[in-house]
Amino acid sequence: MPFLSLKFNLQKRVKLAQGLWMLYWLAVIVGIILFSLGIFFKIELRKRSEIMDNNESHLVPNLLILVGMLSCGLNAFGGKLCHDSLDPQKFSKMKPMLRPYMLLCCGFNALLLLLVLLCFLMQFAVYLTLAEGLKNAIRFYKDTDTPGRCFMKRTLDMTQIEFRCCGNNNFRDWFEVQWISNRYLDMSNDVVKDRVLSNVEGKYLMDSVPFSCCNPGSPRPCIQHHLTNNSAHYDYDHRTEELNIWNRGCRQAVFSYYSGIMNSIGALLIFTMAGDVAGLKYLSTALETMADPENPECESEGWLLEKGFKETLADLLSKVKTFGRANQVEEGGTSPNVTAT
């Protein structure tokens, strides 16, 4: 009993072939979209690799680019198969390539599934890399004269302005690091000397943030310095003030951006794992079982599996077993040439 068999006449076969052809070319377009998404994601990761310690994993975008190219190639070939399937001469030439092609498609779908899992799991890696990278970025903010870190200040300022965030977890991260370089501190000034001596590590710490933390939507001009000192500013209460500087931490802000990208890519991949393999199987079996190959208008039957689902599984298992056994040495046993007396 064939599994899920359907009857096909000429019209139905032609319609199936045409429908499949369109589906395959749509899949080629989706493959191109996947390829460009992979490039876009790679560029976005590179743009901000400085706040991720140059340590970010490019596994997902690289795989995505590969998958996009493979998808284009496989689906274009599938489209060509469908286009040629209605011509009996061309179909007989294509027949031997059909089985390996369908196995390849199944393997490709497995790769897609793996990529979907990676998209959702790699977000943890991105989060951890961001946390570490931002911590170091804030520490090296002042080192604009150290080669390799000259542009850390610029990158971090741009990130805070673009993503509307301040600091790693929140703006208080800036209170714990010295973000003004010693080059710009007047060491002969008593106030400066006191502040430097007031902590163990000799850092110039203060309750201020850089200008990039300022919120342009605030009704009053930005208060950057003496943030926790209410009396330093007129009509200011730092506990209730929430429009002055950005409240969000940059780790949260940048992570939700990347997480959004990865979730959409994952969703698109799930959508791509379509069942064109099923359609192609129906078409090929319908063409093979034509009772009279010379008469194109005869009816034929198409199916997904030749035998039932359980029987096919049993067949597959026995094949795997015999494959294993053929490699074993036979223990003892009589040679088949000796006849029993």
Binding site: D157, N189, S212, C214, P221, Y234
Partner: protein, 362 residues
């Protein structure tokens, strides 16, 4: 004497009709492009209308939108006409419309050219509008509690950050206005009161700028307050420091941005104009050659196509006489039945015989 006469065989006519059909459809696409360019410009101008004074500069994108839509319609009709022109029986349907269509399209291409020139001329009006608008915006920067001006601060700040500029012509413009609202000034402090009293208008002026003027490329943390006071900051000299704040004025930055857009749009419109003109020339040739074919009677024969039947001077004269024949003849009180004696020399035949006969008699 016809202007630029070209001979057309039947196959050449058919090919011309087909090519013109394709070109008309390409022109529909360019019409859509013009329409979307006009829409884009309108949106860009509207986005920053708070920073521009009340000058009427919306006429440029409106003109582009109108021109784009009319181009689509005209070229769609032209495509249909050219498609039908391959068959000479279908041409009879369009015969009467074709000449008015060509004249209308000719005037329309003039509109397209005017549109392109307007793109380049908008520059000066835009500069004035921006100058006045930015000055107003900076004056009302502090009025975040007044309805209608609540978001001006946000607009100006995001403008300075995005376009990397400060003030109208430069950062010193901020020294001449009070950009901190009185709500946030402690009037009980002596120094605040002194500063307010130090100028005629009672404004709190200082040599400081808002945070949005800060240059992100600066190696040192931003110096926003007491900019002209070298001793207020360690190792700082305001005359040589050019990386601390954005040096460009916002008027110049915005003007450069819009001029760049306008130049690209103007170039596209000029190219579209040339394309439309060439399509129009092709349609004119097609029309004249098909009319001549009809006049000759044989649909498969050769025919002439031209731009103008007579020379330019004669065509001008014909147009003038067409205009005159529509005027009322005031001498006869408008009655066409009264015989008006001709003032020109009458042609009676033998009296005007050439001198050859006279020579014979002599």
């Amino acid at each position: 004497m016809a202007v630029l006469k070209v001979k057309f065989t039947k196959t050449r006519r058919d090919k011309l009709a087909q090519i013109l059909w394709i070109l008309n459809w390409i022109s529909v696409v360019t019409g859509v492009i013009l329409f979307s360019l006009g829409l884009f410009l309108k949106v860009e101008l509207k986005k920053r209308e708070e920073l521009m004074a009340e000058k009427d500069i919306q006429y440029v994108p409106n003109m582009l939108i109108a021109v784009g839509l009319i181009a689509c319609a005209i070229n769609f009709l032209g495509g249909k006409i050219c498609y039908d022109c391959v068959d000479s029986t279908k041409f009879l349907r369009w015969k009467l419309i074709m000449l008015p269509y060509i004249v209308c399209t000719f005037f329309f291409t003039l509109c397209v050219l005017v549109g392109a020139l307007m793109c380049y001329s908008m520059h000066w009006e835009l500069e004035e509008a921006l100058d006045l608008g930015l000055m107003q915006a900076m004056r009302f920067y502090k009025d975040t509690d007044m309805p209608g001006r609540c978001f001006l601060k946000h607009t100006v700040d995001t403008l300075q950050i995005q376009f990397q500029c400060c003030g109208n012509s430069g950062y010193k413009d901020w020294f001449q206005i009070q950009w901190i609202s009185n709500r946030y000034l402690d009037m009980s402090k002596k120094e605040v009161v002194d500063r307010l009293r130090s100028n005629v208008e009672g404004k709190y002026l200082m040599d400081g700028v808002p945070f949005s003027c800060c240059n992100i490329n600066s190696p040192r943390p931003c110096i926003q307050q007491q900019i002209t006071n070298n001793s207020a900051h360690f190792n700082y000299e305001h005359q040589t420091e050019d990386q601390n704040l954005w040096m460009k004025g916002c008027r110049q930055a915005l003007l450069e941005y819009y001029t760049h857009i306008m130049q690209s749009i103007g170039l596209t419109v000029l190219i579209t104009w040339l394309f439309e003109l060439s399509v129009l020339t092709g349609v004119r040739y097609l029309q004249t050659s098909l009319e001549n074919v009809l006049r000759q009677g044989d649909p498969d024969s050769e025919s002439d196509g031209w731009l103008l039947e007579n020379s330019l001077m004669e065509t001008a004269r014909i147009i003038k006489s067409l205009g005159k024949s529509n005027q009322i003849n005031t001498a006869n009180n408008g009655d066409p039945n009264i015989d008006v004696p001709s003032t020109s020399k009458a042609h009676y035949g033998p009296d005007n015989v050439p001198p050859k006969e006279k020579m014979e008699t002599s």
